[in-house]
Symmetry: C2
Subunit: 280 residues, 2 copies
Amino acid sequence: MSELWVEEVQDGTYGMKWRAKELLFRGKSEFQSVEVYDTVSHGRMLLIDGLLMTSERDEFVYHEMIAHVPLFLCPKPRRVLVIGGGDGGTVREALKHPEVAHVDLVEIDGMVVEAARRFLPSTSCGLSDPRVSVRIEDGVKFMAAAGEPYDVILIDSTDPIGPAAPLFGPEFYGNVRKRLTDGGLVVAQGECPFYRLDVQKALAQVVKGVFGRADLYNYHNLTYPGGLWSFVVAGKAPRDLSAPDAKRVAALQPKLRYYNLETHKAAFALPEFMKRGLND
Amino acid sequence: MSELWVEEVQDGTYGMKWRAKELLFRGKSEFQSVEVYDTVSHGRMLLIDGLLMTSERDEFVYHEMIAHVPLFLCPKPRRVLVIGGGDGGTVREALKHPEVAHVDLVEIDGMVVEAARRFLPSTSCGLSDPRVSVRIEDGVKFMAAAGEPYDVILIDSTDPIGPAAPLFGPEFYGNVRKRLTDGGLVVAQGECPFYRLDVQKALAQVVKGVFGRADLYNYHNLTYPGGLWSFVVAGKAPRDLSAPDAKRVAALQPKLRYYNLETHKAAFALPEFMKRGLND
Protein backbone atom coordinates (compact mmCIF):
# COMPACT_ATOMS: atom_id res chain seq x y z
CA MET A 1 0.00 0.00 0.00
CA SER A 2 1.49 3.35 -0.95
CA GLU A 3 1.94 6.00 1.73
CA LEU A 4 -0.21 9.12 1.83
CA TRP A 5 1.65 12.37 2.55
CA VAL A 6 0.36 15.91 2.94
CA GLU A 7 2.86 18.31 1.36
CA GLU A 8 3.10 22.07 1.32
CA VAL A 9 5.73 23.48 -1.03
CA GLN A 10 6.57 27.20 -1.17
CA ASP A 11 7.87 28.86 -4.34
CA GLY A 12 8.55 25.39 -5.71
CA THR A 13 11.76 25.27 -3.68
CA TYR A 14 11.14 24.32 -0.04
CA GLY A 15 8.39 22.60 1.85
CA MET A 16 7.07 20.55 4.72
CA LYS A 17 5.36 17.19 4.71
CA TRP A 18 3.31 15.09 7.09
CA ARG A 19 2.36 11.45 6.77
CA ALA A 20 -1.42 11.09 6.64
CA LYS A 21 -3.65 8.28 7.77
CA GLU A 22 -6.50 9.43 5.56
CA LEU A 23 -8.10 12.24 3.67
CA LEU A 24 -11.24 13.10 5.63
CA PHE A 25 -12.65 15.82 3.42
CA ARG A 26 -11.97 17.48 0.10
CA GLY A 27 -14.18 20.15 -1.38
CA LYS A 28 -14.04 23.05 -3.76
CA SER A 29 -16.01 26.13 -2.78
CA GLU A 30 -16.57 29.16 -4.98
CA PHE A 31 -13.44 30.68 -3.36
CA GLN A 32 -10.88 27.94 -2.81
CA SER A 33 -10.15 24.27 -2.23
CA VAL A 34 -10.64 22.94 1.31
CA GLU A 35 -9.11 19.71 2.62
CA VAL A 36 -8.90 17.96 5.98
CA TYR A 37 -6.39 15.18 6.57
CA ASP A 38 -5.80 13.01 9.60
CA THR A 39 -2.02 12.76 10.09
CA VAL A 40 0.11 10.33 12.08
CA SER A 41 2.06 12.96 14.02
CA HIS A 42 0.05 16.20 14.07
CA GLY A 43 -3.58 15.21 14.43
CA ARG A 44 -6.02 16.58 11.93
CA MET A 45 -4.98 19.30 9.53
CA LEU A 46 -6.97 21.85 7.54
CA LEU A 47 -5.54 22.98 4.20
CA ILE A 48 -6.83 25.78 2.00
CA ASP A 49 -5.63 25.86 -1.59
CA GLY A 50 -2.92 23.39 -0.58
CA LEU A 51 -1.56 25.57 2.25
CA LEU A 52 -1.71 24.31 5.81
CA MET A 53 -3.97 26.51 7.93
CA THR A 54 -4.15 24.68 11.22
CA SER A 55 -3.11 21.39 12.82
CA GLU A 56 -4.61 19.97 15.98
CA ARG A 57 -1.17 19.52 17.52
CA ASP A 58 -0.02 23.12 17.52
CA GLU A 59 -3.03 25.32 16.78
CA PHE A 60 -3.06 26.44 20.42
CA VAL A 61 0.01 28.61 19.83
CA TYR A 62 -1.42 30.62 16.94
CA HIS A 63 -4.88 30.94 18.45
CA GLU A 64 -3.69 31.90 21.93
CA MET A 65 -1.30 34.50 20.57
CA ILE A 66 -3.70 36.19 18.13
CA ALA A 67 -6.42 36.41 20.80
CA HIS A 68 -4.92 36.84 24.25
CA VAL A 69 -2.33 39.51 23.52
CA PRO A 70 -5.00 42.12 22.60
CA LEU A 71 -7.65 40.74 24.94
CA PHE A 72 -5.43 41.03 28.03
CA LEU A 73 -4.34 44.52 26.93
CA CYS A 74 -7.92 45.71 26.53
CA PRO A 75 -9.37 46.72 29.94
CA LYS A 76 -12.91 45.50 29.26
CA PRO A 77 -13.13 43.49 26.03
CA ARG A 78 -16.89 43.18 25.69
CA ARG A 79 -17.37 42.85 21.93
CA VAL A 80 -14.96 40.91 19.67
CA LEU A 81 -14.93 40.58 15.89
CA VAL A 82 -13.02 37.85 14.05
CA ILE A 83 -12.56 38.26 10.29
CA GLY A 84 -11.68 34.94 8.67
CA GLY A 85 -10.77 32.26 11.19
CA GLY A 86 -13.50 29.90 10.03
CA ASP A 87 -11.88 27.01 11.91
CA GLY A 88 -13.12 28.62 15.12
CA GLY A 89 -9.88 28.46 17.14
CA THR A 90 -9.62 32.22 17.60
CA VAL A 91 -13.24 32.42 18.72
CA ARG A 92 -12.65 29.61 21.24
CA GLU A 93 -9.77 31.57 22.81
CA ALA A 94 -11.72 34.86 22.91
CA LEU A 95 -14.55 33.11 24.74
CA LYS A 96 -12.21 32.16 27.60
CA HIS A 97 -12.41 35.80 28.74
CA PRO A 98 -15.44 36.22 31.00
CA GLU A 99 -15.61 39.92 30.00
CA VAL A 100 -16.48 38.95 26.41
CA ALA A 101 -20.23 39.21 25.91
CA HIS A 102 -20.40 38.83 22.14
CA VAL A 103 -18.22 37.53 19.28
CA ASP A 104 -18.97 38.00 15.60
CA LEU A 105 -17.15 35.62 13.27
CA VAL A 106 -17.23 36.81 9.67
CA GLU A 107 -15.87 34.12 7.35
CA ILE A 108 -16.26 34.39 3.59
CA ASP A 109 -16.31 30.65 2.95
CA GLY A 110 -19.03 28.54 4.55
CA MET A 111 -17.20 25.38 3.51
CA VAL A 112 -14.34 26.17 5.92
CA VAL A 113 -16.76 26.53 8.83
CA GLU A 114 -18.62 23.37 7.91
CA ALA A 115 -15.42 21.34 7.51
CA ALA A 116 -14.14 22.61 10.88
CA ARG A 117 -17.44 21.85 12.63
CA ARG A 118 -17.43 18.30 11.28
CA PHE A 119 -13.74 17.37 11.44
CA LEU A 120 -12.01 19.71 13.92
CA PRO A 121 -14.33 19.68 16.95
CA SER A 122 -11.66 20.68 19.49
CA THR A 123 -10.85 23.76 17.40
CA SER A 124 -14.36 24.76 16.30
CA CYS A 125 -16.15 24.03 19.59
CA GLY A 126 -16.61 27.72 20.42
CA LEU A 127 -18.70 28.36 17.31
CA SER A 128 -21.77 26.87 19.00
CA ASP A 129 -21.47 29.11 22.05
CA PRO A 130 -24.56 31.34 22.54
CA ARG A 131 -22.31 34.42 22.67
CA VAL A 132 -21.16 33.79 19.06
CA SER A 133 -22.74 34.84 15.75
CA VAL A 134 -21.26 33.06 12.75
CA ARG A 135 -21.77 35.11 9.58
CA ILE A 136 -20.85 33.67 6.21
CA GLU A 137 -20.07 36.99 4.55
CA ASP A 138 -17.29 38.90 2.84
CA GLY A 139 -15.23 40.46 5.66
CA VAL A 140 -14.28 43.41 3.47
CA LYS A 141 -17.93 44.33 2.86
CA PHE A 142 -18.87 43.65 6.49
CA MET A 143 -16.13 46.01 7.63
CA ALA A 144 -17.27 48.75 5.24
CA ALA A 145 -20.81 48.75 6.68
CA ALA A 146 -21.85 50.80 9.70
CA GLY A 147 -22.55 49.07 13.01
CA GLU A 148 -21.83 48.82 16.69
CA PRO A 149 -18.09 49.13 17.45
CA TYR A 150 -15.82 46.34 18.74
CA ASP A 151 -13.26 46.35 21.53
CA VAL A 152 -11.04 43.83 19.76
CA ILE A 153 -10.92 43.05 16.03
CA LEU A 154 -8.87 40.01 14.97
CA ILE A 155 -7.93 39.57 11.32
CA ASP A 156 -7.38 35.81 11.23
CA SER A 157 -6.63 35.60 7.54
CA THR A 158 -4.71 33.47 5.08
CA ASP A 159 -1.85 34.93 3.05
CA PRO A 160 -2.49 38.02 0.89
CA ILE A 161 -3.38 36.00 -2.17
CA GLY A 162 -6.84 34.88 -3.29
CA PRO A 163 -9.87 36.03 -1.30
CA ALA A 164 -7.78 37.40 1.60
CA ALA A 165 -5.81 39.93 -0.49
CA PRO A 166 -8.05 42.98 0.25
CA LEU A 167 -7.62 42.28 3.99
CA PHE A 168 -4.09 43.59 3.65
CA GLY A 169 -5.05 46.96 2.13
CA PRO A 170 -5.54 50.54 3.40
CA GLU A 171 -9.25 50.81 2.63
CA PHE A 172 -9.96 47.78 4.79
CA TYR A 173 -7.93 49.14 7.70
CA GLY A 174 -9.63 52.51 7.41
CA ASN A 175 -12.90 50.69 7.99
CA VAL A 176 -11.43 48.65 10.85
CA ARG A 177 -10.50 51.90 12.57
CA LYS A 178 -14.07 53.20 12.25
CA ARG A 179 -15.46 50.06 13.88
CA LEU A 180 -13.07 50.09 16.88
CA THR A 181 -13.98 51.53 20.27
CA ASP A 182 -11.68 54.33 21.42
CA GLY A 183 -9.66 51.93 23.57
CA GLY A 184 -9.95 49.08 21.08
CA LEU A 185 -7.21 47.06 19.41
CA VAL A 186 -6.85 45.30 16.08
CA VAL A 187 -4.52 42.34 15.55
CA ALA A 188 -3.82 40.76 12.17
CA GLN A 189 -1.96 37.69 10.96
CA GLY A 190 1.35 39.22 9.95
CA GLU A 191 3.31 36.63 7.95
CA CYS A 192 6.84 35.26 8.36
CA PRO A 193 9.79 37.65 8.69
CA PHE A 194 12.30 35.07 7.43
CA TYR A 195 10.50 34.45 4.16
CA ARG A 196 8.06 37.33 3.68
CA LEU A 197 9.56 40.41 5.27
CA ASP A 198 8.42 42.42 2.23
CA VAL A 199 4.76 41.46 2.78
CA GLN A 200 5.13 42.03 6.51
CA LYS A 201 6.61 45.45 5.95
CA ALA A 202 3.89 46.42 3.47
CA LEU A 203 1.17 45.37 5.93
CA ALA A 204 2.85 47.24 8.81
CA GLN A 205 3.03 50.37 6.64
CA VAL A 206 -0.65 50.13 5.71
CA VAL A 207 -1.63 49.76 9.37
CA LYS A 208 0.70 52.57 10.41
CA GLY A 209 -0.78 54.80 7.72
CA VAL A 210 -4.22 54.35 9.25
CA PHE A 211 -3.41 54.19 12.99
CA GLY A 212 -0.21 56.27 13.16
CA ARG A 213 1.65 53.28 14.59
CA ALA A 214 1.92 49.53 13.99
CA ASP A 215 3.70 47.06 16.27
CA LEU A 216 4.69 43.51 15.46
CA TYR A 217 4.92 40.61 17.83
CA ASN A 218 6.16 37.10 17.21
CA TYR A 219 5.20 33.53 18.00
CA HIS A 220 6.42 30.07 17.06
CA ASN A 221 4.58 28.04 14.49
CA LEU A 222 5.33 24.35 14.27
CA THR A 223 3.66 23.84 10.94
CA TYR A 224 4.18 27.12 9.09
CA PRO A 225 7.40 27.41 7.09
CA GLY A 226 10.22 29.08 8.99
CA GLY A 227 8.75 28.58 12.46
CA LEU A 228 8.93 32.32 13.27
CA TRP A 229 5.71 34.15 12.49
CA SER A 230 4.26 37.51 13.46
CA PHE A 231 1.11 39.42 14.24
CA VAL A 232 0.56 43.14 13.70
CA VAL A 233 -1.23 45.11 16.42
CA ALA A 234 -2.60 48.67 16.44
CA GLY A 235 -5.15 50.79 18.25
CA LYS A 236 -6.66 54.26 18.20
CA ALA A 237 -5.17 55.25 21.56
CA PRO A 238 -1.51 54.98 22.62
CA ARG A 239 -0.96 52.06 24.98
CA ASP A 240 1.82 50.14 26.70
CA LEU A 241 1.70 46.90 24.72
CA SER A 242 3.98 45.13 27.19
CA ALA A 243 1.55 45.51 30.08
CA PRO A 244 -1.28 42.96 29.96
CA ASP A 245 -3.65 42.79 32.92
CA ALA A 246 -1.65 40.46 35.19
CA LYS A 247 -4.60 39.66 37.43
CA ARG A 248 -6.75 38.52 34.52
CA VAL A 249 -3.81 36.54 33.06
CA ALA A 250 -3.36 34.71 36.38
CA ALA A 251 -7.05 33.81 36.46
CA LEU A 252 -6.97 32.30 32.95
CA GLN A 253 -3.47 30.78 33.12
CA PRO A 254 -4.64 27.20 33.86
CA LYS A 255 -6.52 27.26 30.54
CA LEU A 256 -3.55 28.50 28.47
CA ARG A 257 -0.74 26.37 27.06
CA TYR A 258 1.58 28.85 25.32
CA TYR A 259 0.59 32.34 26.50
CA ASN A 260 1.81 33.66 29.82
CA LEU A 261 2.97 37.05 31.09
CA GLU A 262 6.55 36.32 29.98
CA THR A 263 5.70 35.13 26.47
CA HIS A 264 3.45 38.19 26.03
CA LYS A 265 6.30 40.58 26.77
CA ALA A 266 8.92 38.50 24.95
CA ALA A 267 6.83 38.38 21.79
CA PHE A 268 7.52 42.09 21.20
CA ALA A 269 11.30 41.59 21.21
CA LEU A 270 12.11 41.56 17.50
CA PRO A 271 15.28 39.95 16.13
CA GLU A 272 17.75 42.47 14.76
CA PHE A 273 17.28 41.48 11.09
CA MET A 274 13.55 42.07 11.48
CA LYS A 275 13.95 45.50 13.06
CA ARG A 276 16.37 46.51 10.31
CA GLY A 277 14.19 45.09 7.54
CA LEU A 278 11.07 46.83 8.78
CA ASN A 279 12.85 50.18 9.11
CA ASP A 280 14.67 50.02 5.76
CA MET B 1 15.60 16.15 -15.98
CA SER B 2 14.40 14.94 -12.61
CA GLU B 3 14.49 17.34 -9.67
CA LEU B 4 16.92 16.90 -6.79
CA TRP B 5 15.47 17.42 -3.31
CA VAL B 6 17.11 17.31 0.11
CA GLU B 7 14.69 15.72 2.56
CA GLU B 8 14.81 15.28 6.31
CA VAL B 9 12.09 13.05 7.75
CA GLN B 10 11.58 12.58 11.52
CA ASP B 11 10.13 9.39 12.99
CA GLY B 12 8.97 8.46 9.48
CA THR B 13 6.02 10.80 9.90
CA TYR B 14 6.93 14.44 9.24
CA GLY B 15 9.67 16.24 7.45
CA MET B 16 11.08 19.18 5.56
CA LYS B 17 12.47 19.38 2.06
CA TRP B 18 14.54 21.78 0.00
CA ARG B 19 15.10 21.77 -3.72
CA ALA B 20 18.78 21.33 -4.50
CA LYS B 21 20.85 22.56 -7.41
CA GLU B 22 23.56 19.99 -6.79
CA LEU B 23 25.21 17.64 -4.36
CA LEU B 24 28.61 19.20 -3.65
CA PHE B 25 30.04 16.58 -1.33
CA ARG B 26 29.17 13.19 0.04
CA GLY B 27 31.48 11.21 2.32
CA LYS B 28 31.36 8.57 4.98
CA SER B 29 33.71 9.03 7.90
CA GLU B 30 34.31 6.47 10.63
CA PHE B 31 31.54 8.20 12.61
CA GLN B 32 28.81 9.27 10.23
CA SER B 33 27.79 10.32 6.73
CA VAL B 34 28.50 13.91 5.72
CA GLU B 35 26.81 15.70 2.82
CA VAL B 36 26.79 19.23 1.44
CA TYR B 37 24.10 20.37 -0.99
CA ASP B 38 23.62 23.64 -2.77
CA THR B 39 19.91 24.50 -2.56
CA VAL B 40 17.78 26.93 -4.54
CA SER B 41 16.29 28.75 -1.55
CA HIS B 42 18.60 28.25 1.45
CA GLY B 43 22.15 28.38 0.13
CA ARG B 44 24.43 25.54 0.97
CA MET B 45 23.40 22.95 3.54
CA LEU B 46 25.41 20.53 5.65
CA LEU B 47 23.77 17.24 6.58
CA ILE B 48 25.08 14.62 9.01
CA ASP B 49 23.51 11.18 8.85
CA GLY B 50 20.71 12.71 6.80
CA LEU B 51 19.86 15.39 9.38
CA LEU B 52 20.26 19.03 8.48
CA MET B 53 22.92 20.69 10.62
CA THR B 54 23.27 24.13 9.11
CA SER B 55 22.09 26.16 6.14
CA GLU B 56 23.77 29.30 4.88
CA ARG B 57 20.48 31.18 4.94
CA ASP B 58 19.69 30.92 8.63
CA GLU B 59 22.80 29.65 10.43
CA PHE B 60 23.31 33.15 11.89
CA VAL B 61 20.42 32.61 14.30
CA TYR B 62 21.73 29.40 15.85
CA HIS B 63 25.35 30.54 15.96
CA GLU B 64 24.61 33.98 17.37
CA MET B 65 22.36 32.57 20.06
CA ILE B 66 24.64 29.77 21.24
CA ALA B 67 27.64 32.12 21.43
CA HIS B 68 26.54 35.63 22.35
CA VAL B 69 24.16 34.86 25.20
CA PRO B 70 26.96 33.42 27.41
CA LEU B 71 29.69 35.66 26.00
CA PHE B 72 27.84 38.87 26.82
CA LEU B 73 26.97 37.51 30.28
CA CYS B 74 30.60 36.67 31.03
CA PRO B 75 32.48 39.81 32.22
CA LYS B 76 35.81 38.92 30.57
CA PRO B 77 35.49 35.92 28.23
CA ARG B 78 39.15 35.27 27.50
CA ARG B 79 39.20 31.54 26.74
CA VAL B 80 36.40 29.74 24.86
CA LEU B 81 35.95 26.03 24.15
CA VAL B 82 33.61 24.68 21.47
CA ILE B 83 32.81 20.95 21.57
CA GLY B 84 31.43 19.79 18.21
CA GLY B 85 30.54 22.66 15.91
CA GLY B 86 32.90 21.53 13.17
CA ASP B 87 31.21 23.84 10.67
CA GLY B 88 32.93 26.75 12.44
CA GLY B 89 29.91 29.05 12.83
CA THR B 90 30.07 29.13 16.63
CA VAL B 91 33.77 29.89 16.55
CA ARG B 92 33.18 32.73 14.09
CA GLU B 93 30.69 34.34 16.48
CA ALA B 94 32.93 33.90 19.54
CA LEU B 95 35.78 35.64 17.70
CA LYS B 96 33.66 38.78 17.28
CA HIS B 97 34.32 39.52 20.97
CA PRO B 98 37.59 41.43 21.29
CA GLU B 99 38.01 40.01 24.83
CA VAL B 100 38.41 36.50 23.43
CA ALA B 101 42.11 35.61 23.26
CA HIS B 102 41.84 31.91 22.47
CA VAL B 103 39.26 29.43 21.13
CA ASP B 104 39.68 25.65 21.15
CA LEU B 105 37.41 23.77 18.75
CA VAL B 106 37.22 20.07 19.56
CA GLU B 107 35.40 18.19 16.81
CA ILE B 108 35.41 14.41 16.67
CA ASP B 109 35.04 14.19 12.91
CA GLY B 110 37.69 15.74 10.68
CA MET B 111 35.47 15.22 7.66
CA VAL B 112 32.97 17.78 8.99
CA VAL B 113 35.68 20.40 9.37
CA GLU B 114 37.13 19.67 5.94
CA ALA B 115 33.72 19.78 4.25
CA ALA B 116 32.93 23.09 5.98
CA ARG B 117 36.30 24.60 5.04
CA ARG B 118 35.81 23.65 1.40
CA PHE B 119 32.10 24.27 0.88
CA LEU B 120 30.86 26.61 3.64
CA PRO B 121 33.45 29.40 3.65
CA SER B 122 31.17 32.05 5.17
CA THR B 123 30.45 29.72 8.11
CA SER B 124 33.91 28.22 8.61
CA CYS B 125 35.95 31.38 8.02
CA GLY B 126 36.86 31.76 11.70
CA LEU B 127 38.66 28.43 11.82
CA SER B 128 41.73 29.97 10.16
CA ASP B 129 41.98 32.78 12.72
CA PRO B 130 45.27 32.73 14.65
CA ARG B 131 43.36 32.73 17.96
CA VAL B 132 41.79 29.35 17.10
CA SER B 133 43.11 25.78 17.62
CA VAL B 134 41.18 23.15 15.73
CA ARG B 135 41.54 19.74 17.41
CA ILE B 136 40.15 16.64 15.74
CA GLU B 137 39.52 14.72 18.95
CA ASP B 138 36.77 13.08 20.95
CA GLY B 139 35.19 15.89 22.99
CA VAL B 140 34.31 13.49 25.79
CA LYS B 141 37.94 12.44 26.26
CA PHE B 142 39.16 16.02 25.83
CA MET B 143 36.80 17.15 28.58
CA ALA B 144 37.94 14.39 30.93
CA ALA B 145 41.58 15.48 30.70
CA ALA B 146 43.14 18.14 32.92
CA GLY B 147 44.00 21.53 31.48
CA GLU B 148 43.65 25.29 31.67
CA PRO B 149 40.05 26.34 32.44
CA TYR B 150 37.69 28.13 30.05
CA ASP B 151 35.43 31.13 30.61
CA VAL B 152 32.81 29.86 28.17
CA ILE B 153 32.23 26.26 27.04
CA LEU B 154 29.81 25.74 24.15
CA ILE B 155 28.44 22.25 23.45
CA ASP B 156 27.55 22.64 19.79
CA SER B 157 26.37 19.07 19.28
CA THR B 158 24.03 17.06 17.13
CA ASP B 159 21.13 15.15 18.68
CA PRO B 160 21.84 12.61 21.45
CA ILE B 161 22.21 9.71 19.06
CA GLY B 162 25.41 8.42 17.47
CA PRO B 163 28.74 9.98 18.48
CA ALA B 164 27.07 12.89 20.35
CA ALA B 165 25.17 10.72 22.87
CA PRO B 166 27.76 10.93 25.72
CA LEU B 167 27.65 14.75 25.42
CA PHE B 168 24.22 14.59 27.08
CA GLY B 169 25.36 12.61 30.15
CA PRO B 170 26.31 13.44 33.78
CA GLU B 171 29.94 12.32 33.56
CA PHE B 172 30.58 14.72 30.70
CA TYR B 173 28.98 17.63 32.56
CA GLY B 174 30.96 16.82 35.70
CA ASN B 175 34.09 17.30 33.60
CA VAL B 176 32.73 20.47 32.02
CA ARG B 177 32.31 21.91 35.50
CA LYS B 178 35.93 21.14 36.37
CA ARG B 179 37.17 22.95 33.28
CA LEU B 180 35.11 26.13 33.85
CA THR B 181 36.48 29.24 35.53
CA ASP B 182 34.61 30.30 38.66
CA GLY B 183 32.61 32.88 36.72
CA GLY B 184 32.37 30.70 33.61
CA LEU B 185 29.29 29.52 31.74
CA VAL B 186 28.42 26.45 29.71
CA VAL B 187 25.77 26.46 26.97
CA ALA B 188 24.57 23.35 25.15
CA GLN B 189 22.32 22.67 22.19
CA GLY B 190 19.07 21.81 23.95
CA GLU B 191 16.69 20.28 21.40
CA CYS B 192 13.10 21.17 20.46
CA PRO B 193 10.45 21.52 23.17
CA PHE B 194 7.58 20.80 20.76
CA TYR B 195 8.96 17.45 19.62
CA ARG B 196 11.61 16.41 22.17
CA LEU B 197 10.57 17.79 25.53
CA ASP B 198 11.58 14.47 27.11
CA VAL B 199 15.18 14.78 25.82
CA GLN B 200 15.25 18.44 26.80
CA LYS B 201 14.04 17.65 30.28
CA ALA B 202 16.57 14.84 30.71
CA LEU B 203 19.42 17.14 29.62
CA ALA B 204 18.24 19.93 31.93
CA GLN B 205 18.14 17.48 34.84
CA VAL B 206 21.67 16.23 34.12
CA VAL B 207 22.97 19.80 34.00
CA LYS B 208 21.03 20.74 37.14
CA GLY B 209 22.45 17.69 38.92
CA VAL B 210 25.96 18.96 38.25
CA PHE B 211 25.53 22.73 38.55
CA GLY B 212 22.59 22.98 40.97
CA ARG B 213 20.62 24.88 38.35
CA ALA B 214 19.92 24.74 34.61
CA ASP B 215 18.15 27.41 32.57
CA LEU B 216 16.75 27.10 29.09
CA TYR B 217 16.50 29.79 26.48
CA ASN B 218 14.87 29.67 23.07
CA TYR B 219 15.56 30.75 19.53
CA HIS B 220 13.94 30.30 16.14
CA ASN B 221 15.30 27.81 13.68
CA LEU B 222 14.18 28.09 10.08
CA THR B 223 15.43 24.68 9.07
CA TYR B 224 15.03 22.53 12.20
CA PRO B 225 11.66 20.80 12.64
CA GLY B 226 9.23 22.77 14.79
CA GLY B 227 10.98 26.11 14.46
CA LEU B 228 11.25 26.55 18.25
CA TRP B 229 14.55 25.26 19.65
CA SER B 230 16.39 25.73 22.93
CA PHE B 231 19.77 26.01 24.55
CA VAL B 232 20.62 25.01 28.11
CA VAL B 233 22.86 27.32 30.15
CA ALA B 234 24.56 26.83 33.52
CA GLY B 235 27.49 28.14 35.53
CA LYS B 236 29.28 27.59 38.80
CA ALA B 237 28.26 30.95 40.29
CA PRO B 238 24.72 32.34 40.49
CA ARG B 239 24.15 35.04 37.92
CA ASP B 240 21.37 37.23 36.48
CA LEU B 241 20.99 35.64 33.05
CA SER B 242 18.81 38.47 31.77
CA ALA B 243 21.57 41.07 32.19
CA PRO B 244 24.11 40.96 29.36
CA ASP B 245 26.74 43.69 29.24
CA ALA B 246 24.78 46.38 27.38
CA LYS B 247 27.85 48.40 26.50
CA ARG B 248 29.57 45.45 24.84
CA VAL B 249 26.32 44.51 23.06
CA ALA B 250 26.04 48.02 21.64
CA ALA B 251 29.62 47.86 20.36
CA LEU B 252 29.04 44.56 18.51
CA GLN B 253 25.44 45.21 17.40
CA PRO B 254 26.33 46.23 13.81
CA LYS B 255 27.85 42.76 13.34
CA LEU B 256 24.82 40.85 14.69
CA ARG B 257 21.69 39.96 12.72
CA TYR B 258 19.47 38.15 15.25
CA TYR B 259 20.89 38.86 18.71
CA ASN B 260 20.15 42.13 20.47
CA LEU B 261 19.45 43.12 24.08
CA GLU B 262 15.74 42.43 23.63
CA THR B 263 16.10 39.00 22.01
CA HIS B 264 18.56 38.01 24.75
CA LYS B 265 16.04 38.75 27.50
CA ALA B 266 13.06 37.43 25.54
CA ALA B 267 14.81 34.11 24.88
CA PHE B 268 14.41 33.19 28.55
CA ALA B 269 10.61 33.60 28.47
CA LEU B 270 9.42 30.02 28.13
CA PRO B 271 5.98 29.14 26.74
CA GLU B 272 3.63 27.74 29.37
CA PHE B 273 3.64 24.18 27.97
CA MET B 274 7.42 24.14 28.21
CA LYS B 275 7.49 25.38 31.80
CA ARG B 276 4.91 22.76 32.77
CA GLY B 277 6.65 19.95 30.87
CA LEU B 278 10.04 20.72 32.38
CA ASN B 279 8.60 20.85 35.91
CA ASP B 280 6.46 17.72 35.60
